[in-house]
């Protein structure tokens, strides 16, 4: 069983879709007392099933490109996680940032624009409508929060599957096992220039990093008291809406019941150029995901499944 996942912190470690050259050679200071993470409760956590057990829980994770000197805030990394506490499984559905969808108040446009100005609830609603699931929580983290959290848990271990050398993101990795601190993890999560499929591969890499972070936390925080430590760490830089510290710990319990090999990540199959549209197989995937928060099968050719540890 996966122990000490403390899902919120865990998953936030992996978020961030980033624009081109920012951070090249720049060190981001970690400012004490500053808020880097926002967690909102938007919906009842579970829909009870007829037998009294809990149905799936859906959580939206948004990596915002908000950073000093740059206006606006776009949700450039979008990951919708379905957790099934009964099956002890979870699926991370990665939504490419260039996906076009109906955005409240903006019509049919790029889905990452829904977070313009930092409206995570609106961003979440856009993704929820696209996929067709009720999303209970929205978690948003910015660049500095991402790095601070990775460093806060002592970094993460990944097995890099391909060469990543990109001056824009500062990614400079050969294939193989690596320990990533906050800065390196951010470079890994940002790199899109190393791949022909650009943001599609980057989106998948972020899901990969999420699972690596989960595995790290499984090893490091395997008890309830450990989850307290994580919650306390997170609360130093988090703003909660519609929930409190107790809710945060309880939410960690939910993820604690997921088996490590029961987590999958899959990128939404799409077609088109700058304005991606879900394919027919993506629609089938949404239906599968909607059912119980778990994907039973993958569309052919979809980046899928990871095993971050060597």
């Amino acid at each position: 069983m996966l122990r000490g996942v403390a899902a919120l912190v865990t998953i936030m470690l992996a978020l961030t879709g980033l624009a081109a050259s920012w951070l090249a050679g720049v060190h981001i200071p970690f400012v004490e007392g500053k808020t880097y993470i926002a967690v909102q409760k938007l919906h009842a956590a579970f829909t009870p099933r007829p037998d009294g057990s809990n149905g799936p829980l859906f959580i939206m994770f948004i990596g915002s490109d908000l950073r000093p000197g740059v206006g606006g805030a776009r949700g450039d990394a979008l990951h919708l996680m379905g957790i099934n506490p009964t099956l002890h499984q979870a699926t991370i559905l990665d939504i490419p940032r260039d996906t076009c969808a109906d955005v409240p108040g903006s019509g049919h446009t790029k889905i990452n624009a829904a977070n313009e100005g930092g409206n995570a609830a609106q961003q979440t609603q856009a993704v929820a409508s696209l996929v067709g699931v009720p999303v209970s929580y929205a978690v948003e983290v910015d660049f500095a929060g991402f790095m601070a959290l990775v460093d806060g848990v002592g970094g993460v271990d990944v097995n890099i599957p391909y060469p990543m050398h990109d001056s824009y993101s500062n990614a400079d990795f050969d294939p193989g096992p690596r320990h990533l601190n906050g800065v390196l993890a951010l470079a890994f999560a940002r790199d899109r220039h190393s791949f022909p499929t650009s943001d599609i591969q980057r989106t998948w890499d972020q899901g990969y990093l999420m699972i690596a972070a989960i595995q790290k936390l499984e090893k490091s925080y395997s008890t309830i008291a450990g989850r307290f430590q994580l919650a306390a760490l997170m609360m130093q830089h988090a703003q909660l809406s519609g929930m409190d510290l107790q809710d945060l710990v309880k939410l960690g319990q939910v993820a604690d019941d997921i088996a490590p090999n029961g987590i999958k990540t899959v990128t939404m199959p799409s077609t088109g150029g700058n304005c991606l549209t879900p394919t027919a197989s993506a629609r089938a995937l949404f239906a599968d995901f909607r059912d119980d928060g778990v994907l039973e099968s993958y569309p052919a050719g979809t980046p899928q499944d990871v095993s971050p540890s060597p």
Binding site: A225, A232, L245, V249, D256
Partner: protein, 174 residues
């Protein structure tokens, strides 16, 4: 065996605090509440079952409502968290327990949750039951209750191989 009888011995109790804000303090009363919950849980869920075949009076009162609902259903959690469904044996019962309480302080320094990590060795004749793990405690009104758990129960009779079951709180409604 009612709560607090000489048959239950708490060998050690340590406490610590993790805080999301200013330094928080576990008061003697709060620590005592955690001790009482662990003691009553072991006695009503194990000792009383060994004696009578039934859970001790007030067992459900130790838990929050959602946890009570889980334990009311037959299944692994019920047979791990309690001694229901296992042999009763005979003879005097002795319990030796150790525990460690960890408090979680919020951003105002108030203790909003506790983790009670414990080990309890219950002996009756050739029967031995070893319970260990953590209970997640939260305030409910003016008292503390168990709202989650991560427990392991090992049972053995004489030289027969021991059996072990585990249970942890599944997804609860946050």
């Amino acid at each position: 065996m009612p709560t607090g009888t000489p048959g239950f011995v708490l060998l050690a109790n340590r406490s610590s605090v993790v805080s999301a804000g200013p330094p928080a303090h576990l008061s003697a009363a709060t620590t005592k509440a955690a001790e009482g919950l662990v003691r009553d849980y072991v006695i009503r869920g194990t000792v009383d079952v060994l004696l009578t075949g039934r859970l001790g009076k007030g067992f459900s009162d130790l838990f929050g409502p959602e946890t009570v609902a889980v334990l009311a259903r037959p299944g692994n959690d019920r047979t791990t968290v309690t001694e229901l469904g296992y042999g009763r044996s005979s003879g005097p019962i002795k319990v030796r327990a150790t525990m460690h309480v960890t408090g979680l302080g919020d951003q105002s320094g108030n203790i909003v949750m506790m983790s009670a990590s414990f080990k309890a060795a219950i002996r009756r004749g050739e029967l031995s039951v070893d319970r260990s793990g953590e209970l997640l405690l939260a305030p409910e009104g003016f008292r503390w209750v168990i709202i989650g758990y991560n427990l392991r129960a090992r049972r053995a009779i004489g030289v027969a191989p021991a059996s072990t079951t585990t249970a942890s709180t599944p997804g609860r409604k946050p």
